[in-house]
Symmetry: C2
Subunit: 244 residues, 2 copies
Amino acid sequence: MISREGGIACYQQLSGILHKQIEEGEFRPGKQLPTETELSRRYKLNRHTIRQAIGRLQSEGLVYTIKGKGTFVANSKISYKVSRKTRFTTSVLDVGLSPDARLLDSYEISAGSELSRKLNIKSSDKVVVLEILRFVNKIPFCHTTSFLSSDRFPDIQAHIKGSFSLYELLKKHYGIEAMRASSSFEVSLPESSDMDMLQISSKVPVLIVKSTSKNSKGDIVEYCITRFRGDLCSITVNFNGEGR
Amino acid sequence: MISREGGIACYQQLSGILHKQIEEGEFRPGKQLPTETELSRRYKLNRHTIRQAIGRLQSEGLVYTIKGKGTFVANSKISYKVSRKTRFTTSVLDVGLSPDARLLDSYEISAGSELSRKLNIKSSDKVVVLEILRFVNKIPFCHTTSFLSSDRFPDIQAHIKGSFSLYELLKKHYGIEAMRASSSFEVSLPESSDMDMLQISSKVPVLIVKSTSKNSKGDIVEYCITRFRGDLCSITVNFNGEGR
DNA sequence: GAGTGGTCTAGACCACTTA
DNA sequence: AAGTGGTCTAGACCACTCT
């Protein structure tokens, strides 16, 4: 099965083999992969070499491992849609899944140089920070840190505790319809806080999306940083204003 | 420096330390990091543990390694901008860097089921495939595979060899102004072809962007898949039609 | 030839899950 | 208690770069 010659590393070959087997349905989503010791025996490779191969599959989002239990085949990625006007809840409902959210924390800070630029306010101005963890089908999906000017949204901390859709709240309480103006996409690896909150290992990449929202007049309403589980989603951006 | 207790893995601690040192400018971009054996001595850790730590930094795009030479601190990410009307060349020039492109291959295939859906043509229709490798400052940056209907763009293979801007070509020869309609973003790890073309190791993630372009009437003009080096770029999407 | 990173092996101990 | 994945060590050989 595994060739020692040919210059292709054993772990690359093995991850290729497993990748193919998963793609072809030999291992179904949710099913356990053979254990590391079993694969080690079967392919006559050291357990560490097996682990290198499985590490790749983890980073690709093809499998996930649970300590003490085993390695399992992942479900296919969730196609998460984003346009000028989209909210998490509707996007997730659209693809037939069930969304959920939890407000982890809310507090106030001074803007400082970077946030003052992002929000177009003075650096001494106060900023409300909201940390929200969002779930799809009870699985942690992304972690959002939102920044809003305290002056423009007084008492938002009190209001947010009741409702979980920030956009609904802005509309109802402040009469503002927020629209996405720009978003940047970047890849990284999880920090320890990401690993805890999103329940992923250090090998699973995170997709970092930094977005600015404006109101209909073009004033900046919100700046937010969302960290998505890279193994769970692909994000589709729609450039035609309206459509989802 | 490294604590054996506290439950945090040594390699996590070390990658944290190095991360911080790089961020704080102790190691400048382009400079070589201490070698693995040196770090092994300095932190009293096995070379494999050192390698785990460095592997993380590689995936984060903070450092890159050259076999036989060493590990070096990477430059900061290139902020690549994308909007409804953007071309690679102008985007790169905008940030003061020098773009370049090479046509790797061009050939014709039958659409098949997936492409026929993407391009809104019959599955028996012919499709022209263009493979283009793009560079920023002589460094491979992304690899694009473009799909266009052969019927709608006769002789495009002959034309493309002269000019490298596909959008220019569509405009000049076919009188079509292509606009980005939607793009999906996804993270993965490089396949062996990616590693060769983009000159990256297996640890550096790739950012996969799949885009559909339409003409002013709303007909689909092009479907393309671009694989960006995840260590080199962050991609900014602008939702206001015009702006870059 | 000396030094670098890339791969593989062998063996150990740990924390966690399951039964 | 047995089995799982997570981490660390020690030692080996390779291909590559530099001189």
